[in-house]
Subunit: 365 residues, 2 copies
DNA sequence: GTCGCTGCTGGTAGCGCTGTCAACGTTCCT
DNA sequence: AGGAACGTTGACAGCGCTACCAGCAGCGAC
């Protein structure tokens, strides 16, 4: 003996065990797998722990068990509304579980991501959530060698490292352009900022749709590497307009840009949708509140986060999903900004969904 | 011996020490306080660590040293733009330091905050950042008993637990109303949502300013506990207008509401600023991009986060600031939505700052 | 009655690192 | 020259928990 109730009066597992009249290891089991105890001991340990206000020491647990109960999350931006919704989903789903979230910001740099990945992996996380499908070769190798479940989010594509939840940005963009064609628009401009891989894929979808219709024109595309903003939306649109005054629609790579375009039109007295139709991407809350209301492609951001975390936790606990790739789809929410003539009553008429909406698995490993 | 290079081939400190030809404890010191080593050993350990790709085991370190290198952060919302800016500041300032951020969401509940606080404190964090000054008595007691530096952010007030960074929401609201008075407005409405303590203080500031001018009227105030949104801004403004059609200005508790008011005015063909002036709060990016541009109270959110994290880290490392309370101030950014007659060229004329802007300490413990 | 088998419990031995303190060599002072 | 003072280093003993394996009942099967 010689050591009991050491400094700082912290309650240790041993104290709980002593009070409950069991061995420390039995008390330990109570916290990890209560089912394994007899009912009698279980209640004894439980009340002892409560009485002493015992809180397990996670560092000791991690050291002894050689693993942590941390889920690492790598996202490219903390400012972008899109990620705050995803994050909220992740935090909500992890709450109540034993796992805690460790967040890091890659700032849209895959090199930074690689660095952070190395850091995370060294601490043996219980699981990992990474953004997108564009990792460096090195990152990819580390992820594949990792001993924990991995979830890639925001996007789906071929060759998942492990699990994947997202939707096709390419298809979503195509659907948005198809909607504009439906409305009789032909000269559709593209406005994009930041141009991360997902925005690039939206541009690809736009380009393919335009080409298929024989309407592609490189000059209709205005992009910049600058981070997105409402102000930038206005500026890029002004550029586009200066170059191609005869456009009849603009597809914006995100909603901030779309709002910027809306304001720029107002500034120039361009009628929406009569002269120019606007379609955004993500369907942030303000899109339904603006004047005119703005059409956008709704993405299931919160669900992406919460489902990703929930599935990851299941996988950590041994229950691997039958389908590792989950397509959460998207919906083109048609609003005033893109409706050529007055349509039926509902401002949300015509929702577009992918063929097999909820579980359309696009690729298997 | 008998145990070297154990399972999983992980490099331990002992291996590094062996390769460097020093004792483990010396190698340990290299990572915590390199200055304490002779230059010769320092370089030896350094190259040995690099050669082996050594990564310290944080769990073991935490267990042995009885403290962690984790900074806990408690914020009320992950969705609110305001907090994402603050968070970005916190993450940026912690990057490069040895400390990692552990984030939790209180969802605007001080009971939830108390629960999370208990959880955090049990893991002996290196420091803690909490939002606001309205904690439960129990939380307050725990914070005061904590053995680590504590930073309260977003707001300043009397009796800091330890350190505090923020600004006076009361004064900021008063400044906004003063600006409207300057512009000749008298019937100033207030539109607020969520009504957390900081919004409440803005309302108090509004009320005080109105009373001082003899213009206070309870019916000018429209609030709700519902979470804020652009749509809600329009709805609340509609309520206000129905009740008090003769208002000539609206002070919105945040920018989303202000944008909603702007759109509602557009919907009703109310001229801004001729018929109604609008002032928001926070000065989010879109306020400068809208048509008309929207006046707002700029708050230094990113700086609040980065300064808080930087000061906290300093304090953790023993360098306590000479002034524990830091007022980061605010600025009324005057734009078209509140300017009665055409003013001087600069659209940002008339910036208002608190008397001693950068370090006006309002209260000392 | 013996042999497994299962279900529960406990002992032992670390997990990888750091706090403490003693020991050492060197320098500087008297 | 002797000793104090300093800077640098290492031995030892855990930090609080869990992995591993052994032990011990209680049970049914043969």
């Amino acid at each position: 003996m010689g050591r009991k109730r050491t400094k700082s009066g912290k309650i240790r597992l041993a104290e709980v065990a002593e009070l409950a009249g069991v061995s420390p290891i039995t008390a330990s089991r109570f916290f990890r797998n209560p089912e394994a105890l007899s009912v009698a001991k279980r209640t004894r340990v439980e009340s002892a722990a409560r009485e002493l206000g015992y809180v397990p020491n996670l560092a000791a647990r991690a050291l002894a068990s050689q693993r942590t109960e941390v889920i690492g999350v790598l996202i490219p931006s903390l400012t972008n509304n899109v990620f705050s919704d995803v994050l909220r989903g992740i935090y909500d789903a992890s709450e109540g579980s034993r796992y805690s979230i460790q967040l890091s910001n890659t700032r849209y740099s895959i090199l930074q991501e690689e660095k952070l990945l190395r850091l995370f992996l060294a601490q043996k996380p219980a699981g990992l959530i990474v953004t997108g499908i564009d990792q460096t070769t090195e990152s990819r190798a580390m992820l594949e060698a990792a001993e924990c479940p991995i979830m890639q989010i925001m996007e789906i594509g071929p060759n998942p490292v492990d699990m994947m939840i997202g939707f096709s940005h390419y298809d979503a963009a195509r659907a948005a352009i198809a909607h504009l064609f439906d409305q009789g628009r032909h000269r559709v401009g593209f406005v994009g900022a930041r141009m991360d891989p997902r925005v690039q894929r939206r541009l690809d979808g736009y380009g393919a749709a335009m080409k298929d219709a024989g309407l592609f024109d490189q000059r209709l595309i205005v992009t910049t590497a600058t981070p997105t903003s409402v102000t930038l939306g206005g500026a890029l649109f002004a550029d586009l307009l200066a170059r191609e005054p005869d456009i009849d629609a603009v597809f914006c790579a995100n909603d901030d840009l779309a709002l910027g375009v809306l304001f720029e039109c107002r500034r120039r007295d361009i009628a929406i949708p009569d002269q120019i139709a606007i379609v955004g991407f993500n369907d942030l809350e303000f899109m339904a509140a603006s004047v005119p209301t703005l059409t956008s492609v709704r993405t299931n951001r919160y669900e992406m986060g919460s489902t990703a975390a929930a599935m990851l936790i299941e996988a950590i606990e041994g229950k691997r999903p039958e389908r590792p790739v989950l397509d959460l789809g998207f919906t083109v929410i048609e609003r005033q900004s893109s409706q050529t003539q007055r349509q039926a009553a509902s401002p949300r008429a015509g929702e577009w969904m992918p063929a097999a909406q909820n579980d359309s698995v696009t690729n298997e490993p």
